[in-house]
């Protein structure tokens, strides 16, 4: 393990984030209008930024660890992450962009005209954001501890400080460029070592990976009482529908100039994600060559970082480990900063601004409130990440997708496509999905795996909470036809009218 080289790599990635973020901040001040600047982002740059933000610690370290441990079943995680983007594109991206809402609570209020639904949506955005931030901090702690021997709290602390600084400075608004750079850092940091390690593996006579027979077999149980087909179907459903409900994903679509631009961006995003996700299976298989059995005290998540040291002892292996550590930090920073930005925005708007306005007698609180929100947004999940025993990076991220799929997906899909949605219906869906997933997660975290069907249903609740939430929305809406917002017809036409027509229409009115 190379202490100095890895420290240099991690420090470089953190510095790049701060410097490029600061540069972008200055750039956006000179540009008179932030939104105009946002709309000049080319589809390719934007796609890199989306890829940079989306590929988190779970993708960089977690998927390889799961493939190492559980075999090819786990391919369905990256496929699901990618497919979620496709669902988002064809079903909701264009109508959401036309709604003019920048965040999910904005959309809820624009569609339903209800402060209460807005408030519940805000709480859910913060909950999903924190659930997603916790594994980023844990991943950072794990990585830094492994490559430098630092105590486990240091890595998460570094990530927390860097993103609080970046978001608090307001730099996140204009750092599309930072996240684009981070995609390419991540891809390079994962691809180059993979290539070198594969060459070393071939030169050493390409020994076959040592795997138990069920590693190749699809849907093999991981233990007694495991229900693999239920687990897989549930995961797949959560990933398909969860992507659209993640707070940091949707906002990126507004940086596109128009519909065709957004579509070009998505095609590129899916290509970038596909290229990236070819690599974790390589590491999973190489891991099986190097470690036929997982050493007792080693987490599956850390397998990627341990392979170079085993295959190429000495300076070469140290260099490769340093690259991987740097890439992993790029993953933690880019995802965490996008999430922190979303959570900060909601905390500032919904919680701090009204309170501060009351204290100061209606004066605008300015940047102070925003900075306070930025600190709150990252400190609480950091503390949580220290309290909660790490569950596995990809598992915790999967839970965030599950909550999003069970709460926001019904609200968005039915909000965009169904005239009969009523205010109590929307509320019922958010509450049913939120409680169902929340209680399942709390039980699993507090009591551990209960085993058998109860354990399976609580550990992967999406397959029952998603239909439950949809059913709650539909049934309650049907029961309360009087509470369908009067503006529904008008709002839906606006959501489904292509921009080109809208443009002509508004000129017609002049």
């Amino acid at each position: 393990m190379s202490h100095p080289l890895s420290i240099v790599a991690v420090a470089l990635v953190c510095l790049t984030t701060l410097v490029v973020g600061g540069f972008g901040l200055r750039l956006s001040r000179r540009t008179s209008d932030f939104y105009v600047a946002g709309r000049t982002v080319s589809p390719r740059l934007n796609a890199s930024a989306i890829g940079g933000e989306y590929l988190s610690a779970a993708s960089f370290l977690g998927v390889a660890g799961l493939i190492y441990g559980s075999g090819i079943d786990m391919l369905w995680l990256p496929v699901g992450y990618t497919l979620g983007y496709l669902v988002l594109l064809v079903m909701v991206a264009a109508p959401m962009r036309r709604s003019g809402a920048y965040t999910l609570p904005d959309f809820a209020e624009a569609r339903l005209g209800s402060r209460a639904v807005r408030l519940v949506s805000s709480v859910l955005v913060v909950a999903i954001g924190w659930l997603y931030l916790v594994p980023q901090f844990q991943g950072a702690g794990l990585t830094l501890a492994l490559v430098t021997g630092a105590p486990p709290w240091v890595g998460g602390f570094v990530v927390m400080v860097v993103i609080a600084a970046a978001v608090g400075a307001g730099g996140m608004r204009s750092i599309t460029f930072v996240q684009a750079v981070q995609y390419w850092i991540k891809l390079t940091a994962l691809a180059v070592p993979a290539f070198v390690l594969l060459l070393l593996w071939v030169r050493s006579g390409h020994p076959a990976p040592v795997v138990p027979p069920q590693w190749h077999a699809p849907l093999s149980p991981t233990g007694p009482g495991d229900h693999p087909w239920y687990r897989t179907a549930s995961t797949v459903l959560a990933l398909c529908l969860g992507t659209m409900g993640l707070p940091h994903v949707l906002v990126r679509y507004y940086t596109n100039p128009d519909g065709p631009g957004a579509r070009r961006t998505t095609v590129t995003v899916i290509a970038l994600l596909g290229v990236f996700y070819l690599l974790p299976p390589v590491y999973g298989a190489l891991g099986r060559v190097v470690f036929p059995v997982l050493p007792g005290d080693v987490r599956g998540d850390s397998i990627v970082l341990r392979i170079p040291g085993e295959l190429a002892p000495g300076l070469g292996g140290d260099l490769l480990t340093a690259m991987l550590a740097g890439g992993a930090f790029a993953a933690f920073l880019s995802t965490a900063s996008g999430l922190a930005m979303s959570v900060t925005g909601v905390l500032d708007q919904e919680l701090l601004r009204p309170q501060l306005a009351r204290l100061t007698g209606g004066d605008s609180p300015g940047a102070g409130g925003f900075r306070l929100a930025a600190v709150l947004a990252v400190v609480l999940p950091y503390l949580l990440s220290r309290l909660i025993e790490p569950l596995g990076l990809a598992t915790t991220v999967g839970l965030a997708f599950t909550v999003a799929a069970s709460t926001f997906a019904p609200l968005i899909i039915l909000g965009v496509w169904w005239r009969g949605l009523s205010v109590p219906g929307a509320m019922a869906g958010l509450v049913a999905g939120g409680l169902g997933t929340g209680l399942s997660l709390a039980t699993t975290m507090a009591r551990g795996d209960l085993g058998g069907w109860p354990g399976a249903l609580l550990a992967n609740p999406a397959l029952w909470t998603v239909p439950l939430a949809f059913a709650a929305v539909v049934l309650v809406s049907l029961a309360t036809p009087g509470r369908i917002p009067a503006s529904t017809a008008r709002v839906l036409v606006r959501l489904h009218t292509p921009e080109r027509v809208t443009l002509a229409r508004s000129r017609l009115r002049d």
Binding site: L86, T232, A504
Partner: protein, 112 residues
């Protein structure tokens, strides 16, 4: 924007909705997107179904350590990309010109 202006604009949307061209546009969009979504979700969930009902087939090796299930997984990346690409091309070639024509007609109405 004042409430009046917004209502006025939204009334304009409502008027727009009743035109045949707009209905045709909407029908075209749904006629493509809904079946396609159904197709790719089915294709995606097919893995789970095949694994439940035909585990032998999915676990069969086609050479070395490569099983049909593994090929299925990698193939999903290819199809996801292909579907996205086809959708984007369809929208650019079919949907946008139609919206463009409708927009142009509204422009002409204003000038006329």
């Amino acid at each position: 924007m004042s409430t009046d202006a917004r209502t006025q604009q939204e009334d304009a949307y409502l008027a727009l909705q009743s035109t045949d061209e707009f209905q045709a546009l909407r029908k075209k969009f749904r006629g493509f997107v809904f079946p396609m979504t159904g197709f790719f979700l089915t294709w995606y969930f097919l893995y789970v179904l095949l694994s439940i009902f035909a585990p032998g087939f999915m676990g069969r090796t086609v050479g070395g350590n490569i099983t049909i299930g593994l090929l299925f997984g990698l193939g999903q990346f290819v199809t996801t990309f292909a579907i996205t690409f086809i959708y984007a091309r369809w929208a650019n070639r079919e949907l946008d010109p139609m919206a463009e024509r409708l927009g142009a007609r509204l422009d002409a109405q204003k000038e006329g």
